[in-house]
Symmetry: D2
Subunit: 135 residues, 4 copies
């Protein structure tokens, strides 16, 4: 099992399941987003504060590999890692793991940057600091 | 503070907040639903199993009083009580309470029944048992 | 069939249905909210603009009567009326009607006010104007 | 502008926007899913029926490139194409385009297969027929 910068525990809520009786595909992005924000918070970065400071982190690309479906009642956790991918971009690497058997349910890669007050992409200082700590 | 049959802890997730920066009104019904299902589970009733057994609990009426808005980062809990309201109906009385200061954010009343295999409303046995325990 | 100030057409999207194969209860509040905002827009009031002008319409109470469930593929419309309920409160009366047979699926009553810059409830001028037109 | 097998019109609903005032990243997957299901329906394939027939289309991989954010009030459409990517896999290629200026907001690629009654991946006959028509 890989090591993670941060892990966040979840449990499937029934309203997240669709007609197929499994968690709807889009919901995983909500799980990943929440785990990212909790990871940042854990590292001292408040996403809501960033927004209020006019620093807008933006997602530029999402890749999700669906391995197995989560279903009603499943406990799971999301592991989060972060890496720099270019001068102005960084990526969160995230795994969704079912708690009962440690099976990988989904792995995701979310690439982003931040838009500064001039509307230009800019690596936010808090992420630079984070990356230097993460290595 | 009222006594509850069951309490469930939550934390606001950023995707649940809307343009106003507060939890979207509809999301509270998700919180209440999840707290009800967890309450039932805690009392030995699995909502997903009920559906698979062709017993369909249905909500017939929802009343929500919005007192104060939850916002990004808020921890809160939902307290759940249950009462019989007619021969074939029962109601969940639920309060949403902000953890930091115990302020009441929303109170809700969700009335329901269950539809049996013949498509008729019927008080499910598991709820009858529950109500006898709850008193 | 009642007359409405405004009607908005919808079609159920599959992701709105839950494990029971029907539209999840909370989703109706999304339908009602969207129909209200479209109604206001139709009458010249932009909800997003209000938020940007620091006028915050807030919902204080929601009552929903669930009559029949919408399911995958259903076309439906939401009829909207509005009435003043006190010096500082107004209510939207809304019906969700299945297009195929004009059956009433849900009726809702959403009471609200607006919070001004001083943080106090105030009947917004645009709603006062609207109510005088609606009568 | 590319040609599409199918186009579906949408309008952003305010509850789909988050604290940043733009459509939440996960919501695009809902748009894409709904456009796929409407595309299939348009071509004579009912997703809900498939589920009831125990044919379970599953998404195995999603790639989303976020170009520009949709915001409150935006009208947009989703263009859908489909291609076979292996003996048992097919992909939907989808573009989200803002109606006002035909700007590309997001492009997505959703790869899937179907799980048959034996729990094995199998190219569903209806998709095979579709692909032969699409070429």
């Amino acid at each position: 099992m890989a090591e993670y910068l941060y892990r966040h525990d979840f449990k499937v809520r029934d309203y997240e399941c669709d007609m197929q009786g499994i968690v709807n595909n889009a919901v995983y992005q909500h799980y990943l987003e929440h785990a990212r924000h909790e990871c940042l918070l854990h590292l001292g970065i408040n996403f809501a504060d960033l927004t209020r400071q006019n620093i807008h982190p933006v997602v530029t690309r999402v890749e999700l590999d669906y391995k197995r479906p989560l279903t009603s009642g499943d406990a799971f956790w999301v592991g989060v890692n972060i890496e720099q991918t270019s001068r102005i971009r960084f990526a969160f690497l995230q795994d969704v793991v079912r708690t009962a058997d440690n099976k990988l349910m989904l792995s995701g890669r979310t690439t982003g940057t931040a838009i500064n007050e001039q509307g230009r992409p800019e690596m936010p200082q808090c992420i630079i600091d984070l990356l230097s700590k993460a290595t």
